[in-house]
């Protein structure tokens, strides 16, 4: 099987994308990298951070650099599902009156679901069906979303009054949950310099939908040995309260990660391997993806919140506990 893009081209394009994004996004290199990984792995990203950290700007920049169709949906409590997916409207012309489907903002390569937790569950579920199935069914007709299709949703960890936290099943559909950190002092200064001048930085497209599809196809062809897959599986298993080797974990968790977590770990690890110029997946690729993959899949209970235990700290404990290669360690 020959792939449409060589690993070298993959590395070149991905580096170009990150460099181009770096023109606008100050710092946040890991965030940019993880977002790109999720996009190339074919997954959706939930960005969480306080307002003003550049979440929306990041998504817009991605759309511009990747030269993809982009739509933004500002989720509000009065938003209706049809406002996202589209609806059938009556149109009248010379022929007569008929029902036409008016596509919603979800019909784009890159959809920004801004403050997704402010919409009602009904709207959230409409979006999440599109995310999972990559189709939209309106009026009994199923319509395919464009390829590639990525949803980058943002949510605000504060101002939670009047919000509708995403249910676990819907959270699970996001490949990554990325926490947008505060910029450092130097980054803040740079942000100020770049955005308060006469001219804002212009982003040029580095790749198009075709390149993105080729890159995604290449990602899936990266070989991963059984023992590396087994490591990912052991990580996910260890996150489940009944099967975890961590004694403290059952006391803090309601639910562990689902099988989608393994898929997310493996796919994202493949992208990381290509980023590293390797032709195989290493243990470190899997462990590097553990935080964004497991962060939103470990459902903490009240005791965890009371003790100040976060899902990230539990993931750290998992990474410390689960040995990547027991065979090598035992010899």
């Amino acid at each position: 099987m020959n792939w449409p893009m060589s690993p070298e081209t993959f590395a070149e394009v991905s580096t170009g994308i990150q460099d181009e994004l770096g023109k606008l996004i100050v710092g946040q290199a890991e965030l940019v990298r993880d977002t790109l990984i999720a996009l190339l792995a074919g997954g959706h990203v939930l960005l969480e951070g306080v307002p003003g950290l550049g979440k929306t700007s990041l998504v817009r920049a991605f759309a511009r650099v990747l030269d993809l169709g982009f739509n933004r949906v500002q989720f509000t409590p009065d938003l209706m599902p049809a406002d996202v997916t589209g609806t059938t409207v009556i149109t009248e012309d010379e022929v007569g009156r008929r029902f036409d489907f008016q596509a919603g903002p979800v019909f784009a390569n890159l959809v920004l679901a801004d403050e997704v937790n402010r919409a009602t569950p009904k709207v959230q579920s409409a979006l999440l069906e599109a995310m999972q199935e990559r189709t939209v069914t309106v009026g009994g007709t199923t319509r395919h979303l464009p390829d590639p299709f990525f949803v980058l949703a943002t949510q605000n960890p504060i101002e939670l009054e009047g919000t509708y936290p995403l249910p676990e099943a819907q959270l699970d559909r996001f490949l990554f949950k990325l926490a947008v950190p505060y910029p450092t002092d130097a980054e803040l200064a740079e942000i100020a310099r770049r955005t308060t001048g006469a001219a804002e930085p212009e982003l040029a497209p580095v790749a198009g939908a075709g390149e993105v599809r080729a890159m995604a196809a290449l990602v899936r062809s990266v070989p991963i040995a059984d023992h590396v897959i087994e490591y990912a599986a052991r990580l996910v298993s260890a996150s489940q309260p009944g099967r975890s080797p961590l004694p403290e974990l059952p006391g803090y968790l309601r639910f562990g990660a689902s099988p989608r977590a393994v898929q997310a770990l493996v796919l994202s690890a493949k992208v990381r391997a290509l980023f590293a110029g390797r032709f195989n997946v290493a243990f470190e690729d899997v462990s590097a993806s553990a935080h964004p993959v497991l962060r939103h899949r470990l459902l903490l209970n009240f005791e965890a919140e009371a003790d100040g235990v976060t899902s990230d700290s539990l993931v750290d404990r998992l990474l410390q506990t689960v040995v990547p290669d027991p065979v090598a360690a035992s010899r």
Binding site: P7, A276, F279, E284
Partner: protein, 626 residues
């Protein structure tokens, strides 16, 4: 497809078989497992390995080959060190235990443990030989190859992929290139075994320290070993005597059967004996039984000698006279047959002289063979008018001589010839009987020797002294020489029968009777001549240097009690309570009773003596001590 292959039982079996060097190929069949094992042992390991990863391609195989070899060496070192530590630890425990308790066979146990450890190490090494993929994973981890090698090998070895993608080819090239930048020793460094080596060396040092520490149980072990040796020697002596007796020509008789049964009983008891004392009991009983057997051949030889003397000077009987005098009854029988053939050729005068000589020979033989089968016996009237004796087998000899003399006197040469033939048969029967007696005598001599050693060992065990075997030998020598017996040996054997008994009895086969000596080193103890009729050398075993000291077994060293004639000479002596010495005296005496040549009456006397003392000892009577 690959997943299906991984769950294929045959493939799984092949993978496990590869652990012990069996080829992990699709050609592998379980039925050929053993054959392949043998082939594997004959091949070079690298050859096996190459075939195992033959699908990996030359580049990957070449990169993995030194790693696999190094992994095998690493596994061998690990197994060897583990086995060494286990062996040294286990052996140290055994050695330590042997110093706390008298455990024999420590060296053999150590050797056995070593063999088990070696086999275990070999088995562990064979079973834990890493698969090529495991080697690659270890190399990945140690070289920091980011799973390149293992991934390349995993996909290279995966069958059922018809068209390996370029990604896999690139992966293999990348893995090989990076793997070759490292030395195999980096993946399997010797330093990793430092902890194991430390444990093994510590165990070895402990073992060496224990091995070079003096063993407080050595004395006990040596004594036990000596016990086993003397018991084994006694068993051999009894078995040998039994074989000799079986080979004797006249062993089928009543005496032979009794002797054989006694020997068999003794052999059984000796096999059960765990201590020299038990062996001594068995041997003593055996000796008593053998001694109680009637010894008729000694009288026969005396009677034959007397007959030979009577025939001396008679024409035509010179050789017969010599043979009879020498006790060679077999030759004498031939001479008699010869004389019977030519008696008719003699003249009347010669016949009368021969008749007279034969009559005298018959009378002298009858007179000297009293108590033996040469004795006169009770004459019984025969149908033909003759008489015969109801005495033993040799009575026909004297009767036949007498009848031959009477026939010659009456001028009946034919009848005389017939009676001479009868005399020849009687002499022949006695010769066979004498042979059995010789074997019995030899057996008794051998048993006496063994008994002396066992008694000495038993005495050493009782007193806790060393040098038991040397003393036993000294005692035996003293007994044989009579006067030179040492006091210790005299009591050590419980006044046992001296070696002179055995030797004199064996000589008795030559016709000079046997002499019995008590063998005690006591001057007062004189030998008792047997039934040798004055011909047997009477042994005076106590005729040499006198000794008034008798060392009593069972006393602590340095506090040996001395009793003897000096008490009667007015020596100033210390006294000690009977109860302190009498039990040991009694035990020693009673143990030795069975080994002495004492008549039952004398044995009863000894028993009665101690029985009579028993009341006094309980009353706290005292004895004098010099």
């Amino acid at each position: 497809m690959r997943a299906n292959a991984r769950h294929d039982p045959l493939r799984l079996l092949r993978r496990h078989a590869a652990r012990v060097g069996i080829l992990a190929s699709t050609r592998f069949r379980p039925s050929r497992y053993l054959l392949r094992l043998r082939l594997a042992a004959a091949r070079h390991p690298s050859r096996l390995w190459r075939e195992t990863v033959q699908d990996a391609g030359p580049g990957l195989a070449g990169a993995l080959l030194p790693l696999r070899r190094r992994a095998d060496v690493d596994g061998a070192i690990r197994a060897a060190l583990s086995a060494l530590a286990c062996w040294a630890g286990a052996t140290a425990l055994v050695v330590a235990w042997s110093k706390l308790s008298p455990v024999g066979g420590t060296l053999a146990l150590a050797v056995a443990l070593g063999a088990v450890s070696l086999l275990g190490a070999a088995a562990a090494w064979a079973l834990s030989r890493p698969l090529p993929l495991e080697v690659a994973r270890v190399a990945d981890a140690r070289f920091g190859l980011k799973e390149r090698l293992a991934s390349a090998l995993f996909f290279a070895g995966a069958r059922g992929v018809p068209d390996p993608s370029t990604m896999q080819r690139r992966l293999e090239e990348d893995a090989v290139e990076r793997a070759r930048q490292h030395r195999p020793a980096e993946a399997f460094p010797l330093q990793r075994h430092s902890r194991r080596a430390f444990v093994a060396l510590t165990a070895l040092a402990t073992l060496a320290a224990l091995a070079f520490t003096p063993n407080p149980q050595a004395t006990t072990l040596a004594r036990r070993s000596a016990d086993r040796a003397v018991i084994s020697e006694a068993k051999k002596a009894v078995a040998s005597a039994r074989r000799r007796l079986e080979r004797a020509p006249h062993h089928g008789g009543k005496e032979g059967a009794q002797a054989e049964a006694a020997l068999q009983r003794a052999l059984v008891q000796l096999r059960k004996a765990g201590t020299p004392l038990q062996a001594l009991t068995a041997l003593s009983a055996l000796e008593s039984q053998l001694s109680s057997l009637p010894n008729l051949s000694a009288g026969e030889e005396t009677a034959a000698a007397a007959a030979g003397a009577a025939l001396a000077g008679t024409p035509g009987t010179a050789k017969l006279s010599r043979d009879l005098f020498a006790g060679d009854l077999k030759a004498a029988a031939a001479d008699l047959r010869h004389l019977a053939q030519r008696v008719g050729e003699l003249g009347a005068k010669e016949q009368r002289a021969l008749a007279k000589a034969l009559q005298q020979a018959a009378e002298r033989a009858g007179a000297n063979g009293a108590g033996s089968r040469f004795g006169p016996g009770q004459d019984q009237q025969q149908p033909n008018g003759g008489t015969t004796s109801s005495q033993g087998a040799f009575s026909p000899f004297t009767n036949a001589l007498s009848q031959a003399a009477q026939a010659l006197e009456a001028g009946k040469a034919g009848a005389a010839s017939k009676y001479l033939g009868s005399a020849a048969r009687g002499a022949n029967a006695s010769a066979a009987s004498a042979s059995l007696q010789q074997q019995l005598a030899a057996a008794e001599a051998a048993l006496s020797n063994a008994q002396s050693k066992v008694a000495s060992q038993a005495q050493a065990d009782t007193s806790g002294r060393k040098g038991n075997l040397a003393r036993g030998a000294a005692m035996k020598g003293g007994g044989e020489k009579g006067g030179s017996s040492s006091p210790r040996s005299a009591t050590g054997n419980g006044q046992g029968k001296s070696g002179s008994f055995g030797s004199s009895r064996s000589v008795a086969g030559q016709g000079r009777g046997r002499g019995k000596g008590s063998g005690a080193g006591n001057k007062e103890s004189k030998s008792k001549a047997g039934n040798g009729g004055g011909n047997g050398p009477a042994h005076k075993s106590g005729g040499g240097r006198s000794s008034a000291q008798v060392f009593v077994g069972g006393q602590p060293s340095g506090t040996e009690q001395v009793v003897g004639k000096r008490l009667a000479n007015g020596y100033k002596v210390k006294t000690t309570n009977y109860r302190q010495v009498m039990p040991s005296f009694e035990r020693t005496a009673l143990q030795g009773l069975g080994s002495q040549v004492l008549s039952p009456a004398d044995q009863d006397l000894v028993r009665n003596y101690f029985t009579s003392l028993g009341g006094q000892t309980t009353r706290g009577a005292t004895t004098k001590k010099g």
